[in-house]
Symmetry: D2
Subunit: 342 residues, 4 copies
Amino acid sequence: MIYNFKNDYTEGVHPRILDALKQTNLEQHEGYGEDRYSREAISLLRHKIKNPSADIHFVSGGTHTNAIVIPSVLKPYESVISTFTGHINTHEAGAIEHAGHKINVVESSDGKLSCKSIQSVLDAHTDEHMVKPKLVYISNATETGTLYRKNELETLSRFCRSKGLLLYLDGARIGSALCSQDNDLTLAQLSQLVDVFYIGGTKNGAMLGEAVIIINDSLKKDFRFHLKQKGALLAKSRIFGLQFVELFKDDLFFRLAEHANAMALKLSRSIEKMGFQFLNKSATNQIFPIFKQDVINRLSKKYGFYVWENMDDQHAAIRLVTSWATKEKAIDSFIGDLETGF
Amino acid sequence: MIYNFKNDYTEGVHPRILDALKQTNLEQHEGYGEDRYSREAISLLRHKIKNPSADIHFVSGGTHTNAIVIPSVLKPYESVISTFTGHINTHEAGAIEHAGHKINVVESSDGKLSCKSIQSVLDAHTDEHMVKPKLVYISNATETGTLYRKNELETLSRFCRSKGLLLYLDGARIGSALCSQDNDLTLAQLSQLVDVFYIGGTKNGAMLGEAVIIINDSLKKDFRFHLKQKGALLAKSRIFGLQFVELFKDDLFFRLAEHANAMALKLSRSIEKMGFQFLNKSATNQIFPIFKQDVINRLSKKYGFYVWENMDDQHAAIRLVTSWATKEKAIDSFIGDLETGF
Amino acid sequence: MIYNFKNDYTEGVHPRILDALKQTNLEQHEGYGEDRYSREAISLLRHKIKNPSADIHFVSGGTHTNAIVIPSVLKPYESVISTFTGHINTHEAGAIEHAGHKINVVESSDGKLSCKSIQSVLDAHTDEHMVKPKLVYISNATETGTLYRKNELETLSRFCRSKGLLLYLDGARIGSALCSQDNDLTLAQLSQLVDVFYIGGTKNGAMLGEAVIIINDSLKKDFRFHLKQKGALLAKSRIFGLQFVELFKDDLFFRLAEHANAMALKLSRSIEKMGFQFLNKSATNQIFPIFKQDVINRLSKKYGFYVWENMDDQHAAIRLVTSWATKEKAIDSFIGDLETGF
Amino acid sequence: MIYNFKNDYTEGVHPRILDALKQTNLEQHEGYGEDRYSREAISLLRHKIKNPSADIHFVSGGTHTNAIVIPSVLKPYESVISTFTGHINTHEAGAIEHAGHKINVVESSDGKLSCKSIQSVLDAHTDEHMVKPKLVYISNATETGTLYRKNELETLSRFCRSKGLLLYLDGARIGSALCSQDNDLTLAQLSQLVDVFYIGGTKNGAMLGEAVIIINDSLKKDFRFHLKQKGALLAKSRIFGLQFVELFKDDLFFRLAEHANAMALKLSRSIEKMGFQFLNKSATNQIFPIFKQDVINRLSKKYGFYVWENMDDQHAAIRLVTSWATKEKAIDSFIGDLETGF
């Protein structure tokens, strides 16, 4: 196989992180988040979001993060609103329901939540015979590569606050979103519009690790108890700290996302030029071109990817994902093969 | 108010049950389901369904029953398939999710589940990143008054067995379903087509109480532990036993349901004759006529009912529910008022 | 068998309650706690405890009540402190842990909790690697028939408040406790010393039903959501209301408990006079005399009771429970048989 | 500080693991446990335990592992038996109860479980008003440094099987146990005596990672669903695979544990020679010498450790933990300081 476009976690970790692990390896540090590097990373991230009082914790993966944050925010009878395609609704093996909470699912054509769809959930929940919607879950970038622009997120944020709803942003691919050419939000602005969010490291250069950032004071108390009870406090927590220090001390995180986006953009522009359609208009590191079945078959012999959605009997959309580690020659090869018909 | 058609639990209990309670009141009996009358009721019900090895237990209400039966059947990562209108999805305050299980919701125009819709859920759940659908939940009569005919339930049952799915029937209104003029199923036949179901007493003459009937041997073990752990083992369980003995020793249960259905039928036929439309074709004790808003306003001054669904700006469907206790003169009064325009 | 002393729920319900059910049976009422009689009962109970703003709800049994109240009070990582003999620790099939909470168990020679034992739990729980003790669970009367005197409850209450702990009193046998000759607390005084408690109806004249009384404002919000989600909202809730109206409108509740206590006292005094020892000093409706094995064998042919604890090879303590319905001649018969050696 | 003896996770990871990460870093691999190195590690471990059909999975930490394995084995009403000092009972923030299961706690003077104490739990659990004990949890080495000898584990295993109980061994420090001079068990023998266990990597040279090994066929099904639902499936699972390949391909794992034990042994022998007592007789990498308070104060200025238990007003036992990374000069320094009185 020439290159695997299946996911943004197929390669390992940015080399600088491995170097940092090596250099500090035999230092002795406290565990469970109380090490020096975790504190340093927290300090860096607080600075980046211009919020010195944000609570910041590290968790090893996205599903685990969602399964800890969401129940920590909700009372047993409260629910979370999500699009149908939201990661918590489709790809977390029922983790949120397992933790006791209903997901109020709404349809969405672009993977984004609108105030109107949230209002429709509120309208349908009127008394104690039903759950009480309390949290709004969005992803940025979304699971289908789209993103929230500043005015969209502002509108959503205002709406949630006016309705007494909390807003949680799943940032598994927040790097790609914020570095998209379509983006007009900064990390600091985004952080002010939500109650809690996380910055995904796993899909943007880290070995593992997501940084949970709690903005709303009322959600901060005793969060470490939630982490411990769910098995998320890592003994050698220095690993989290070191990674986020490397990723954020000189904005490596954003440069890695820019690279992933640039690779995806080159790919999508070339595919578009050849006249192919796309499932949607993504400006992040996931793109969804539509090909005939025989093209897909031929591509699949040289490239890894998922068939995302069957469009009709003869066409399907596939998902191509780029990452910080995707080499331009892999892109060129794919484009070349598509142009020449192999 | 002349009559309240809001629900089938607005009156108390069939007088024969009160008499039985009185006659046996000072007898001493074991508690928690081990009393003589509970055993007698179990024996009677086993006889009715022609299944001497069925496991039978009593629970005080329908939501509690669903919240005990469904988790008792599922492993933590397994899910239950239901229509959107299924009681577990809309009116149980998230009890199933609170117990840890996702509900895979499918749309349905008549409140009934089809094999096709179940298959669509199965098709979408392919690996451990998603829940594993295992249980199919249906209601008979459904929440919108429709019912499953024999061939429909047989088809569904066969389908579930061929796919390794379990079938659970919520019988909160099973009396009304089985006594409907559209029904061609017996209680015994129905029982053979499902893995577990319950017979609703609360909505058909009892003070409280639903009889859980476990047909599938693999679901029987240790069910009393589930009951106790969920707080469902009633100390004075004789109350359950006595009620079900009275309801089933001479088929009073069915006569009560026949009366409720007859009242609903008289109501719906008369309304139909006057030219009104209905939300759907119900042949049970819940009917959903569509009236203009001003008619609804006038009716609401003399009768209790819920506005079920707004059809357009000027029309809405209301829900009228009859019960074992509904007097014919209440029906006549409603019809008269509707005819004369008050 | 002459009489069954096994429990205080072996007989049915006080006749006045059956009469009230009969008289009101065909009235139409709202369900799920919104009926007139529930409101009337709530009003009566508020008056009894001299607290017009207490939140009051009805649940069908004690285990269910504990399994709803305790999780409604706690965050996921918070725990409840109980004696080893506490009902929640031994006879609820793990309902509290099933709802997600650890019970911090302390030993106690008399079934009562002391400040010292609570402090020992607090001392052992210092960080997020352990649960956070938050709720103190006591029973009055306790599971072994003892009771809290006024100064004991005041001390405990003050201690809890000083430590930020909440205090919950399980009143399954609160009638017997408050009507004991050793008691110096009123219901109103007791209510002021706790954050939440319940008045047990099942074991003192009701058919079923416990009244949950929430004193602490911070615990009141959305309690009906908890009730619904756990399947505790009863459709024909009038049944709860009617029972508590009958029990409290003229203090029938206390007269019934006085009778049960009087029967137990007559029994224990007579047994004591004959020179037998007791497991403890109970002044409520449960007594625990110690007999030789052959005496127990002979008694068991004519009377029902549980063997509570083996004292040595030849002696055991048995539990004798009296109730509102225990007839004096059953007591006389038991005493006579014990005196004459049958 | 000269050296921190607080824990066995104060340093990073064995250098060979970092090298392996570096060498393979830009290879592309599937995620979520389906990468080549995870498969290779599984193959190696199966070979080590001489059981080609064992199911093996990797989880990032010990608490998370326990919180996944234990609920995966139990039905909702089933409980797990543990000593009071068991990690699940004291240092997991109630994770097991949070997952719904009661821990039946028994006292133990040496941190080990005996058949007698298990039988006492079984004797006390007789019906559905109580939980049903089903799983036995032991740690090897235990939380207090002791270990199970072959005949002890055989006896326990036989007892559990005869009683229908499952046996789970927490191997957070299994390396230290199996490499102790007191040990007479092989890893393969141990594996045959339990139903499921885990090999702790975090505390013996890994960066993070525990290998769950399921021996009993009935516990294998769908385990990956449990992992995913609890957030334990790591995207870049190659990290787990690579670490366990390095640790087991040439028994590095055991050499690391031998070193840790040798360091602890040197420490304990020297301390013993100086006439100090110990809390217990540990032959693993945790030792618990008892010192006067002023000695502890002086030691704490140069060395890190936890005060484990106050023995009397003037004496306390401290815990000293060694690891694969502990340098002999740190041991010599500690001994020297203790001898000279600083």
